[in-house]
């Protein structure tokens, strides 16, 4: 073993530069693997950790306020109840702290018993008055510190005693600010809410009987109105939908990065062993065992892989832990912490073991050959029957139209392509791995473009107006006279409920005339509304209520009036998860005069939006975008995707450099012969350019096709099934990736050519 260590150390010193390239590949693969593990483990098991820490109830029931005694009686009648607690939830309250504020806060008055949240800093509420616990996400967003004061409408300043995490909902800013206060605080203000509760948290003895309990609960809830059930599994499904996309993307990306790095490492190891065949033969001839030779190679690989994997794992972890923890905070879930150590250690082990095995295996195979054939320079594989020299393009045939000035350059590049193509299996494997990487980078770019559009461009939602103004319908003519305004119309919006089940809330939008001038979400079925009693509905609503063109949409408006309309068409809309309905203004106003009114203002193309906004004055607001309150989530997602895209891009660069280096390494003599006959560095670069082009062209084609035909549409379906999200890479994304590939290829060519031309021609000719 000692001898193996000594030989491994010697080999490492001898092949310092190649070892560095190998280490780079291992570090990149380890970084990708660590990033994937951090995000997938954190997000994948975050809900589990959060529910365990918070003791989340199996069922959370919201209802119209009722005396606590009645509610207790109803709950006690249910089977399999372990325990329950009652509380009061007050919504749309004004709160403020440290210069921040919101008028939509939810205040939860907690009673005795379990509370369903975890305290992550400070302490929980006790029976003393004027104490609150705030959500960690809210504290982070507003910079609230422990023991600082927070203003809540109707209450004196409250002291923040602790920060909480309750995984039954996402945190501020994705949801409204949530604050917990004890009954003692309200009692100190003379408010007695104990007799009137609207929230119950129920824990079951055996959560497997949840469905039976829910059926029973619905049957015995007579007297309770406005019932809304939230189950633990339901919350999980909702959160998993968001996190699932990120995890799926990451797992796929890390597999591709690992695959790419694996292909390159295996090819490099094989080439290395091929070059050392004679040395292996000599050692075999003097009595070295097969195992000793394989162990020496594996040890050498281990000496390179261990530090590289450590650096890569640390880099991948550092790059993603921060953004992931921020994302978890928004999801009201705790960071993974030390729980990540085990998967990261497993990832590190894999990053070390795979390269060692990749080297040991060909060495083991080679050492199995008779020493005599090894000394004669046997190939690791059986020599393939060569193809006819007449087949395929030959260097002897200049392409017509290729001038004298370009012909030698093109021929050298063509030779480079042929050298790369000589290892056909490797070329296919590398091009495939690279193609997948390119496909995923394209997907990430398309996703980033889509997110940006949703965040900043109202047009992404089919909105054609850029501004809204809090002005009455009578101001339309006046607004249309403003320079730069193309059209203006009153826009009415109401929140209705499905008249049959009263479960689904629906955004009802109405214009007096043709709404497509201001909002034209893509029509996916049927036709635009033309008649007074017709409606266009979002695909999300159509799916939820089973609507199709020709069906009847029955909605109950806040006025209590039921409005029945014929569905003329289905539109693709991201607003309110696609649960929207476009109706004629006359029909809406006839049923509910209290519908909110504002003016939608469409600005002429090229007009100055700021000038129009200034002319409208304080009444003007930019049109809302799709992400709305989710902007911070989008930012965090973008940070994660950016980190992954960078690592994936580096994997592409590594693959290209390694492919070039392998071509030169294996064709060292060819390069030396060319140089002996007068080829300078530019000629070597041309040769390598051909090798890179032979790899990049099919890879780019594969990547583009993969993204446009498979990955983009699949992710779009996965992300939102109620709308058409354009995730197929467009020309700008493809151009950006091709430009990146050209840069990466140029870096690879220059770097490897520099290394190749630094070597002595004599050494290259001798092959030592």
């Amino acid at each position: 073993m000692r001898a193996a260590f000594v030989q491994a150390g010697y080999g490492l010193r001898l092949r310092r530069r190649r070892s560095l390239v190998t280490a780079l590949g291992i570090a990149l693969a380890a970084a990708m693997l660590a990033a994937s593990l951090v995000v997938s483990d954190s997000l994948g098991r975050g809900f589990e950790r959060a529910t365990r820490a918070a003791g989340l109830a199996d069922v959370i029931v919201r209802f119209d306020p009722e005396p606590a005694a009645i509610v207790s009686q109803r709950i006690q009648a249910l089977p399999d109840i372990a325990t329950f607690s009652l509380g009061q939830e007050l919504t749309d309250l004004s709160v403020g702290a440290d210069g921040h504020g919101s008028s939509q806060a939810a205040l939860e008055v907690v009673g005795p018993g379990r509370r369903g949240y975890a305290i992550v800093a400070g302490r929980d509420l006790d029976n003393a008055p004027d104490q609150v616990v705030v959500e960690r996400g809210l504290a982070a967003a507003w910079g609230i510190r422990l023991n600082s004061l927070i203003q809540i409408a109707g209450l004196p300043p409250q002291r923040v005693m602790g920060f909480s995490e309750a995984p039954d909902n996402v945190s501020y800013p994705l949801a409204v600010p949530r604050i917990y206060v004890s009954q003692a605080t309200l009692a100190a203000q003379g408010v007695e809410l104990g007799q009137s509760v609207n929230l119950a948290q129920i824990w079951l003895r055996d959560p497997r009987y949840l469905d039976e309990v829910l059926v029973q609960a619905r049957a015995t809830s007579y007297g309770l109105r406005g019932l809304q059930f939230v189950t633990r599994s339901g919350v999980r499904v909702l959160l998993d939908q968001a996190a699932g996309i990120v995890i799926d993307l990451l797992v796929a990306l890390s597999l591709i990065a690992l695959g790419t790095a694996g292909v390159m490492l295996a090819a490099s190891a094989r080439a290395e062993v091929q070059q050392r065949l004679a040395a292996i033969g000599v050692r075999r001839a003097v009595g070295a065992s097969r195992a000793h030779l394989a162990a020496t190679q594996a040890l050498e690989a281990l000496l390179v892989a261990a530090p590289a994997a450590t650096i890569g794992t640390a880099a991948g972890t550092l790059a993603t832990y921060g953004p992931t923890s921020r994302l978890l905070m928004m999801l009201n879930e705790p960071p993974a912490g030390v729980g990540l150590l085990a998967p990261l250690a497993a990832g590190w082990l894999a990053s070390v073991a795979i390269p060692a095995l990749a080297v040991a295996w060909p060495a083991w195979r080679a050492a199995g050959h008779p020493p005599v054939s090894l000394l004669r320079g046997a190939e690791l594989r059986r020599r393939r029957r060569s193809s006819s020299p007449r087949g395929g393009p030959t260097l002897a045939t200049p392409r017509p139209g290729l001038g004298r000035r370009w012909a030698p350059r093109a021929r050298l590049a063509l030779l480079g392509g042929r050298l790369a193509g000589a290892r056909r299996a490797r070329l296919v494997a590398t091009a495939t791995a690279l193609g997948f990487s390119i496909g995923f980078v394209l997907l990430l770019l398309a996703l980033a473009s889509a997110l940006s559009a949703l965040e900043t461009d109202p047009g992404a939602l089919g909105k054609r107006y850029q501004l809204t103004a809090s002005l009455p319908a009578s101001a339309v003519a006046q607004v249309e006279r403003i320079h730069g305004v193309q059209a203006a119309a009153p826009r009415y919006e109401d929140q209705a409920a499905d008249a049959f089940s009263l479960g689904e809330t629906i955004d009802v939008i109405a214009y007096p005339g043709d709404h497509t001038i201001f909002e034209a979400p893509p029509l996916t079925a049927g036709s635009r509304l033309r008649r007074p009693r017709e409606a266009e509905v979002g695909a999300g609503l159509a799916e939820a209520l089973g609507l199709a063109p020709g069906s009847t949409l029955a909605i109950e408006l806040p006025s209590g009036t039921e409005l029945r309309l014929r569905v003329s068409g289905i539109v693709s809309s991201l607003d309110h998860d696609g649960r929207v309905a476009y109706v004629p203004a006359a029909a809406l106003l006839a049923a509910d005069l209290s519908a909110s009114e504002e003016l939608a203002v469409r600005v002429r193309p090229g007009a100055n939006l700021t000038a129009v906004s200034n002319a409208l004055g304080a009444a003007a607001e930019p049109a809302t975008t799709a992400t709305g309150r989710g902007v911070p989530l989008v930012e965090v997602l973008r940070a994660i995707l950016r980190a992954i895209a960078i690592v994936d891009g580096l994997v592409c660069v590594y693959a290209l450099i390694q492919a070039c280096a392998l071509t030169v390494h294996e064709r060292r003599r060819t390069v030396a012969v060319l140089r002996a006959f007068g080829a300078g560095a530019p000629a070597v670069r041309r040769l390598l350019t051909g090798a890179v082009v032979a790899l990049v062209l099919p890879a780019a084609g594969l990547g583009i096709l993969l993204e446009r035909l498979v990955l983009g549409p699949a992710l779009a379906r996965l992300a939102v099934n109620y709308a058409t999200l354009p995730l197929s890479a467009g020309l700008p994304e493809i151009a950006a990736v091709l430009a990146g590939l050209i840069v990466a290829g140029a870096v690879a060519v220059f770097w490897v050519a520099r290394q190749a031309t630094r070597e002595s021609v004599i050494l290259g000719l001798s092959g030592t």
Partner: protein, 221 residues
């Protein structure tokens, strides 16, 4: 001219002039520095001290790029193990130096003529592994001549060939009118074609008088 590597002086006070049309053979034991001498003459290596002048250009002070150009235009190499590129046919191998950027005009025409002259037309489209050793060395010889170099350097050109093929290659080297040919070998039979035979030993280059008679005898081959 002297080269010192790892505290070992390989060539010491070596002085050699080769005229156009002259064939010089350098004999010596393995490790005597024959190949080092050839590499220095061919601008593949630089001496630690001394001057090398080729076709009126001093190589010693030239940068790597200029040395590459010198090799392209003025030097042709013939290697013991041929070093033909596997992916290319015999003809493509021959034409390769003529197709490098910066090569003189007319190389391709000359290359095809050489293939014809050397009787390789029938097998010009074969890959190296489909050729015999003698055929490979003839293609290598054609490749060395394709850019019409003033100096041809042959490093053990018959080392991997049988007697018959070796003799044919030597005859071709002998027949290169107007070019300076330096061949290094450890085989006296190969040296027999030379106008001048030198012996390299202990880093010094000296005339090997005892080979003069066979040279004259074989000149008519």
């Amino acid at each position: 001219m002297g080269v010192g590597r790892a505290a070992r002086r390989v060539l010491d006070s070596v002085s050699l002039d080769v005229d156009a049309g002259e064939v010089v053979a350098v004999l010596g034991r393995s490790g005597s520095g024959k190949s080092t001498l050839l590499h220095l003459l061919g601008a593949l290596d630089r001496p630690d001290a001394g001057r090398i002048v080729l076709a009126g250009n001093e190589l010693t002070a030239q940068p790597a790029r200029a040395l590459a150009r010198t090799r392209l235009r003025h030097v042709g190499f013939v290697f013991q193990s041929f070093h033909l590129i596997e992916e290319l046919s015999g003809e493509e191998n021959v034409l390769l130096p003529a197709r490098l950027p910066g090569a003189a005009r007319g190389g391709e025409r000359r290359g095809r003529a050489l293939i014809e002259q050397l009787g390789l037309s029938e097998i010009a489209d074969r890959r190296p592994h489909e050729l015999s050793g003698g055929e490979q060395q003839r293609f290598a010889l054609a490749r060395a001549l394709v850019n019409d170099p003033e100096l041809v350097l042959a490093d053990e050109p018959t080392g991997n060939l049988d007697q018959e093929n070796g003799a044919a290659v030597l005859a071709l080297l002998r027949g290169m009118n107007g070019r300076a040919v330096v061949l290094v070998t450890h085989e006296p039979e190969a040296a027999a074609i030379a106008d001048r035979v030198l012996h390299l030993g202990d880093g010094r280059l000296e005339a090997a008088a005892h080979t003069q008679a066979p040279v004259r005898a074989l000149k008519s081959v």
